[in-house]
């Protein structure tokens, strides 16, 4: 495998194709537009279908249509467009259809701005439309990881017949980094999802099927919700992913840590640089990076918190006014002091800024 230098958005498009996705439905919005611009050229090369929908409302419903027919498919958008998809995602989750949604997050609320942000954490991890449902949420922190998580996203979507969101920020979409793709460009997996026992289509004598989320009987709807809940519990038990940066095995760090940072996506990379800087000064900080935002790795984070030496604190850093920090507090269950630093609007905290906050929390002199 050779490395190629690619923009995050384009790499995500290619990764989707390599994962066997041949159907894309979407609507232009900055900063994710390179995804449709890439796929409109790439999909015809592999016999795929690209539809520029009239709105995000329509594109997510087109995804519902294609997914219901057992065809691997996706859409992508950025924050305001994702808000418009809330209705469709609720239906797709209720109907238990597999699909992948990319949210290349930009700053809100409202029209906000087009620069990177992480302020859709609540929206992504709390279902974002109406009703009791969950979306699996994956948060890459590099272009390579974005590519790898696209493959995983389709796998998880199909394993659990559930929408999966790849939740990155505009910076991941816009930057170029070297990437390697698994598999061969001319040996793509089929775009059938193996929906033999659930997908609609040509019947050939089988019993007819219905893709539906309407349950007028409260008991049946309760049962349906219990079934979904059991699935989400199963996902939570099996599919959490995270990275711990800094402690054991890090010769320079010496193993232990007095402060545990928690950050995801782009923010986590910035924290890593800040941690490298303060470790050079003898300060012992580590980073816990959730890769699955939903299911959130509560137990793993709690273990990492329990390993903080003494009564050291947890420091949550986000490009938002504080959203994931609620989950961090849930993980801590009151056992640790939780510090928070966040910026919004597309203002991205610099490594120096984070490093300075670390020094303050640890009572060290400014660099």
């Amino acid at each position: 495998m050779t490395k190629v230098l690619m923009k995050g958005n384009e790499a995500l498009g290619e990764a989707a194709v390599r994962a066997g996705c041949r159907h894309f439905f979407g609507y232009p919005i900055t900063p994710q537009t390179e995804i449709p611009e890439y796929l409109v050229k790439r999909l015809p090369q592999v016999g795929g279908v690209f539809v520029q929908a009239e709105s995000e409302v329509a594109s997510i419903n087109m995804v519902m249509g294609a997914a219901g027919m057992g065809i691997r498919c996706m859409t992508s958008s950025s924050s305001p467009g994702i808000s418009l998809m809330a209705e469709g995602v609720s239906y797709i989750a209720a109907c238990e259809l597999p699909c992948v949604i990319i949210n290349m997050m930009r700053a809100g609320p409202g029209l906000g701005g087009i620069l990177p942000a992480q302020s859709d954490y609540f929206q992504a991890t709390r279902g974002h439309g109406h009703g009791d449902y969950q979306v699996i949420v994956l948060a890459p922190s590099s272009v390579q990881e974005a590519v790898d998580l696209m493959t995983l996203a389709f796998e998880l979507a199909e394993t659990y017949r559930n929408p999966v969101m790849v939740c990155a920020d505009g910076m991941i979409g816009q930057m170029m980094e070297p990437v390697e793709f698994a598999g061969e460009p001319d040996a793509l997996p089929p775009n059938e999802m193996g929906g033999d026992d659930w997908a609609l289509g040509v019947r050939e004598g089988r019993k007819r099927r219905i893709v539906n989320s309407l349950y007028l009987s409260p008991d049946e709807l309760n049962e349906h919700n219990l079934k979904l809940k059991a699935k989400y519990d199963d996902i939570a038990a099996k599919e959490t992913r995270h990275e711990l940066y800094g402690p054991e095995g890090d010769a320079e760090g010496g193993g232990g840590y007095d402060l545990l940072l928690v950050a995801f996506g782009t923010m986590a990379r910035i924290c890593k640089t800040a941690i490298d800087d303060v470790r050079a000064e003898g300060l012992r900080a580590a980073l816990f990076r959730p890769i699955t935002l939903n299911p959130f790795p509560f137990a793993d984070l709690r273990r990492a918190m329990d390993a903080i030496e003494g009564d050291g604190a947890v420091f949550d850093v986000e490009m938002s006014m504080g959203q994931m920090v609620y989950d961090v507090k849930l993980a801590a269950e009151g056992t640790r002091r939780i510090e928070f630093h966040g910026t919004a609007g597309g203002v991205v905290p610099s490594p120096d800024e984070v490093a300075q906050k670390i020094r303050e929390i640890l009572g060290a002199a400014p660099a």
């Binding site: 087109m62 249509g65 997914a67």
Partner: protein
């Protein structure tokens, strides 16, 4: 002589068959059926029945089958519908439009590869009645779901079945763009000039001056605009399409409308173009009219606003 069989247990007592019979051979029974409706029975002289099938054509509930003088069955319930009783009000012509849609699919041999998309509104449960694979879509989004389905499996026949609130109001954008892209889908648009499921509110298709629960003094066109003629609106698009409007208010019009629906599916099956059939229908409950009066109201008030006929054809066949 012909013969008819009325399924007493399916009858909702709307009486449309009574009015349909040219010889007055059907009338209400004295009793109620087990659902509590005054059902109809054949009370005339069997010798006089010609087996013309108008009674069955007018029945919204698949309640009548007919044989002709030679003992040949001239009206048989379609296998394109399930046997389930519909939830539609007595006299509502949704049942008729369901039936002719299903009959067309059956007659064209398409049932095995048809996928329908049900809307939100009175026909939300259409997935229970059409005997094909079905989606139940979000309000107004059926053409988007159908787009995804058809693009995913072009070999399937994909149709949406939508009411006026669903298609014309909340789903205005989805239908406009599906038509403009020339999606090879078929849209059955049922227009009864009112929101039925939610209890009789004003729709985009409500007639000027028509009273509804949200236009209690009659629709004021100064404040709410004119009715939207969806078929004509879509016909202005340059993209080739088959667009027609029929009515379900009497058996003759039902038969004409069925031809339009059949043509629409033929265009889809041959991959020719987007196809759209608007069907005027009744809402006796929310109009506050008896079923037969409702049919008259369609004739006298709706058709002048919504003229019937083929409005647009793909150029190759026009």
């Amino acid at each position: 002589m012909g013969d008819i069989h009325i399924a007493e247990e399916r009858c909702k007592g709307c009486g449309l068959c009574i009015d349909a019979c040219p010889r007055g051979l059907i009338s209400f029974a004295e009793d109620l059926n087990e659902k509590g409706y005054t059902y109809v029975e054949f009370t005339g002289d069997l010798e006089q029945c010609t087996g013309c099938t108008l009674c069955a054509t007018a029945c919204p509930d698949q309640g009548i089958e007919v044989w002709n003088k030679r003992g040949k069955q001239t009206f048989e319930n379609t296998t394109g519908l399930t046997e389930r009783m519909s939830h539609y009000c007595p006299g509502c012509t949704h049942g008729i439009i369901h039936r002719i849609t299903a009959e067309c699919l059956q007659e064209l041999g398409l049932l095995d590869r048809t996928v329908g998309v049900a809307p939100v509104g009175c026909s939300v449960l259409a997935y229970e009645y059409f005997n094909v694979d079905m989606f139940e879509a979000a309000h107004g989004r059926a053409p988007a779901v159908a787009t995804g389905a058809k693009r995913a499996r072009p070999e399937c026949i994909v149709f949406t079945y939508q009411g006026d609130g669903d298609l014309c109001s909340i789903g205005g954008n989805e239908i406009l763009h599906a038509a403009n892209r020339g999606e090879k889908i078929t849209v059955i648009f049922v227009n009864n000039a009112i929101y039925g499921m939610t209890g009789g509110q004003m729709a985009p298709t409500t007639l000027p001056g028509q009273r509804t629960s949200t236009s209690p003094d009659g629709r004021d066109i100064e404040a709410t605009g004119h009715p939207i003629n969806m078929a004509e609106l879509l016909a202005t698009l340059s993209t080739p399409a088959y667009i027609a409007r029929g009515s379900s208010h009497d058996p003759q019009h039902v038969l004409k409308t069925k031809k339009m629906i059949k043509k629409a599916f033929e265009h889809q099956a041959s991959g020719t173009c987007f196809s759209f059939v608007e069907v005027l229908s009744t809402c006796p409950t929310n109009w506050g009219l008896a079923p037969q009066e409702s049919g008259d109201w369609v004739r006298d008030h709706m058709i002048p606003q919504y003229p019937l006929g083929v409005i647009k054809q793909p150029e190759s066949v026009s």
